[in-house]
Amino acid sequence: MQDWKILSRITFSSTITFNMSIFLYLIKKIFTLGSTFLGITLISFMVMHLAPGEPMNLQTDFNPKMTPEMRDRLRAQYGLDRPLYIQYLQWLKGLAVLDLGLSFSPDRRPVWDKIKERLPVTLLINILAIGLILVIAVPLGVAAAVRHNSIFDQITTVLVFVAYAAPAFWVALLLMLYFGVYLGWLPISGLHSLMGYTQMSGWEKLLDWCRHLIMPVLVSALGGLAGLSRYTRSSMLEVLRQDYITTARAKGLPEKKVIYKHALRNALLPLITILGLSIPGLIGGSVIFESIFAIPGVGQLMWTSVMARDYPLLMGNLVIVSVLTLLGNQLADIGYALADPRIRTGVKIDD
């Protein structure tokens, strides 16, 4: 009777501690998210005010009909006559409701609309790229670790180094040259064909999209592939050195089971964090291949807005992309916490 009471008390209190630790973890996460978001907006705001002169000079300087009164009115309209911290708070207020201002370009459309219509494209290509990276890099890294110091390992190491050092835009150009111009297999620009697109059936449309997306996704994945396969290899090597692997082998388990059931699961854990850390790199890389392959995504939008000195669009783009990166990193963190029970219960991990 006594044992049952003690047992139920232990189970009850451990459930409470379990829930409390998750709760505290989430509270800490929300706090991190909030303060990092504020930091992002603060730095973006400071970048905005780097330019000598005022943000609206571009509109006013070359206009011969501009009078000092009109200048003052524009200044008041943009709130530039208020002290800096008030401007910052106003901008922050706008951010909260996704009002990022109007673009400077002749169409004067809201910045958020322009970003909204391009975001899905970039996200699509980056998600596909992450998928490609996982599918190729992880098996490659595991195979290289298992065949440590063999010819296979050495060849893949050299290939990885070369892929790391190759500039993405050069590889894109070479691919365009070879597959687009010489062989004519793949189209070299856009998301889908322009002629006859509407007459295509569902399957043909899908195939058309695939043909257009192969090269951008490949170029986007190239750098991340090299990095992740290298990291998988070293993570796997580290795990294979552990005592529990020796135990598993001593128990007489078949080698395949040792590798795939025991070693792999532990080697894959750090990959989640690495994937999260490579998100800014992937999004940044999209500037290059979107410009080359004429893909209408946020990367190309960033480039055209820089070229046109369209400041509201530029800053809105920067903030939105950074916030997305922040969310991606936090998701990776949460994913890691879910996958590794040691994080949740707060057990100290030794090196």
Partner: protein, 291 residues
Amino acid sequence: MKAVSQQITRSPHNKITCLSQLGNSPLAVAGLLIVGLLCIVALSAPWLAPYDPQAIDTWHILESPSKAHLFGTDALGRDCLSRLIYGARISLLVGIVAVGIATVIGTILGSLAGFYGKWIDGLIMRFVDIILCFPTIFLIMAVIAFLEPSILNIMVVIGLTSWMGVARLVRAEFLSLKQRDFVMAAKISGASNARIAFSHILPNAVAPILVATTLGVGGAILTESALSFLGIGVQPPTPSWGNMLTEGKDNLEIAWWLSMFPGLAILVTVLGYNLLGEGLRDALDPRIRSD
């Protein structure tokens, strides 16, 4: 007392034997050779280049590689080989200066965070996390949009956006070295905080900084060429491997040599720095050392 503490505070590493370990790895030696070759080419550009890189020759536009022009000519008749050689100067300059700035900032902030700990550490690391949320190219593009693209601006901006890795490394080194006996000995013998940090801890933290710096030059060259390719880096007519590739893109179907050679140059250069950096890492790593 001072003599004893001086004995304990002598550096535990002997750098000469570490660096000679580099000779063991053929890849690292290859990296060293490539980097050395690049430096020689960049320094001797005025004597090495067969033509003036800015010399426009409208009689010989878009010629494929020949005996007169080993790597062909571009749309304005300028010799590609000479432009490549002068481009090496720009790439090397930008790479080294940018990484120099990044290393200085990263070392200062990292050592402050690692040495003092507590709230300074928290503040600096939170700052690093915030900056890491910005995709580097986006941030650089935004800053360059507000200032004008010039070589100086690019060097500074690339430096300002790549110090984070160095800072983290230095912080980790300081955190672990702070516990060692020679630091305790230095404190006992009355050394000030600044002296402990600079004369005792920092020399022992140099190894990972050196590795990060070498690898960073490769990264900076890649970033600079990407920016020049997009048109917001080194402006034409100054030859940079990146803006040579822009011309290559414009003439993709008719002049393959304009796209091939600058890209190859970037590839080999960055490969050289990466191999050298990895070789240095293996040579200076106390765990793998054979002695």
